[in-house]
Subunit: 370 residues, 2 copies
């Protein structure tokens, strides 16, 4: 299902391909977040035009709204949202364990819906059934995310339960067309990461999500943990850093060999007025852009940059006009997708390190200028 | 600038063409509302695809945000918003007189900005300068809208002042490429309407907006007033019912010879979950559509109806997803534009009365079924 096409000689970066029922995905890959079956403000046609290769939705969120049975009756999430390329669903463990009213037991997790206060109980098997019904190409194991990452005992408990739950996720998973990725836990504790990898590394997962990272800890600690994970799981497994990233973080992680990323940040910051450009991130709502009739990024050839100006998009955002959110989201995603494409080309040409240096220099100069 | 191409023989409906620097607009025409230089949720490319012929923006709103000088520096509102077809600007008299803190005098009107509380003074001449700078194809005279329509004395004062202001609007208007339309006031009082028409009907306006109508009074009263206006202004003037309408109202008004309409309603109701269909207006957020995988309107061939289902759009709207607002807005506008096109074809074929009967029957049957 996954093959490595090219390994960089100067770094541990690698380029590969994930085969799915909805087509091949080239890695390193950045997945926009479509939690509820939509990348906020954008249509499936926009995403296709932007060159998105794979999306990630959230099974837990879709379970609450509109309900798994509706997505299933539509034929699949692909049909429901009119997106014919690959989709990943996250199980939503992370989101469930972030709720206030959660009770976990060996069998599964009890929680209350934030929407209507109703009680729910989700088991690893239930999550698998749910994700089967939703029909994504790649689905994620149901993991237990500790609530207090600084509490070693809780992280230990969560890691051990995540391992047992991983086994249970595999067992009702009859190896249909969907691929099931495991999620590795263990926080920043090497012994717990080791424990998790020792047990799960041998299970039949074609890829692993790195869970419990980039949740507030210093990035260096996360990077160290990623390094440890990568050194200890089989090379042929897809390496997926969940919830990351922004451009500079992605460069860091591609360099050590991460294949897959997802992050709501590029679209989230678009809606609050931040625009990604070759010269760093800018706050497009700032007064300095009010008479700036150049495109968001002079080096970008996206639909937005070809047709609209900074001054207009600034005006829209300052007037709370939805089109502003949409145009800025479109551009930021396009920026991310071109960025990933450039990374893949650089790996292919053996020039990733140079690409990284050039990109960072320019990006940082822009940031410092402001 | 305006020519009547076809007059219906069974009704007073008429089809015509308005020539503008940005192309010819066929009438009867419905203009989507782009108050701040954007039709809410939609891009200029969407509007073009939908077949929008002419938009209406609001000079007063653009004056406050982003400021007329920015639109002017962009080249024109067309350039600013990337829309190369005709644009009308309303002067914004109606909006200014709806504010709480307004003081009117012969020279102009004092008001406070709702945005920052700053004081402003706009004169008829100032409004003309403003609208020239914005660069719309058709601009509207600056009128005085009474605040209490039931108060004869105030309506009389407003009507008389609107007439004097109309003269002042014409005088600094040097007959450039822009067309200036007058706005007729007089409320529902025949003598005041007569007074207004007698004075303004002979002024050099190629068209007239019907002001102070459809603002809460029974539709029959507005219709009677429109009838009176139309019977008393020269046939070759464009007749523009400001702020109307929804499909059935438009049919009523086209039948008596109105040429031009604008209304924020089709896009406004789209954002609150109402969808226009051949079988009447439906509330797409309702539970009955949760597993309805048919298009919004089975008889519609728009981009949304070709690609998305009621169930999906219902889900998006119920989850407060912006894409839901956008897809529903797109469809509703497409519905309005096809509707206007059908009206024009029917007038051209001499079958407007039959078209109206068929449309209404179907539209009403649908409404009653629910």
């Amino acid at each position: 299902m996954f093959r490595i096409i090219k390994k960089d000689t100067k770094t541990r970066a690698r380029a590969g391909e994930i085969k799915t029922p909805h087509g091949i995905v080239k890695t390193p890959c950045f997945m926009p977040v479509a939690t509820l079956g939509t990348v906020k403000t954008l249509s499936a046609e926009d995403l296709d035009e932007i060159g998105v290769e794979m999306l990630i939705a959230n099974a837990y969120h879709l379970y609450l709204k509109p309900g798994v049975e509706i997505v299933e009756k539509a034929g699949s999430l692909h049909r429901f949202m009119n997106w014919n390329k690959p989709i990943v669903t996250d199980s939503g463990g992370f989101q469930i364990f972030s709720l206030e009213d959660v009770k976990v037991e060996e069998e599964g997790v009890h929680f209350r819906s934030k929407i209507d206060g109703s009680s729910h109980f989700i088991t690893p098997e239930g999550s698998m059934e749910m994700q089967k019904a939703i029909g994504a190409d790649i689905i994620m194991a149901f993991d237990y995310c500790p609530r207090d990452w600084a509490n070693y005992d809780e992280v230990k408990l969560s890691t051990e339960m995540t391992v047992r739950w991983a086994e249970r996720c595999l067992s009702p998973f009859y190896g249909g067309k969907q691929q099931l990725f495991g999620i590795l836990q263990g926080g920043i504790y090497k012994d717990l990461r080791r424990l998790c990898i020792d047990k799960m590394g041998t299970m039949d997962f074609p890829g692993f999500g790195f869970g419990g990272l980039s949740i507030g800890e210093p990035f260096e600690e996360a990077a160290e943990t990623v390094d440890f994970i990568i050194n200890n799981i089989p090379e042929e497994k897809v390496r997926y850093f969940m919830g990351l990233g922004m451009p500079l973080q992605i460069l860091d992680m591609v360099e050590v060999g991460v294949d897959l990323f997802d992050c709501g940040m590029p679209t989230h910051i678009a809606r609050t007025g931040s625009t990604l450009t070759s010269w760093g991130k800018i706050n497009i709502k700032a007064g300095r852009y009010k008479e700036d009739f150049s495109p968001l990024d002079t080096e970008c050839d996206c639909f937005v940059c070809r047709n609209y100006t900074r001054a207009y998009i600034r005006h829209l955002l300052n007037a709370n006009e939805i089109l502003g959110l949409r145009l800025n989201s479109y551009h930021n995603l396009y920026f991310m997708l071109r960025f990933m494409e450039n990374i893949r080309v650089a790996i292919d040409m053996g020039s990733f390190k140079e690409f990284r240096k050039d990109f960072e220099m320019k990006y940082n100069i822009g940031e410092k200028r402001r």
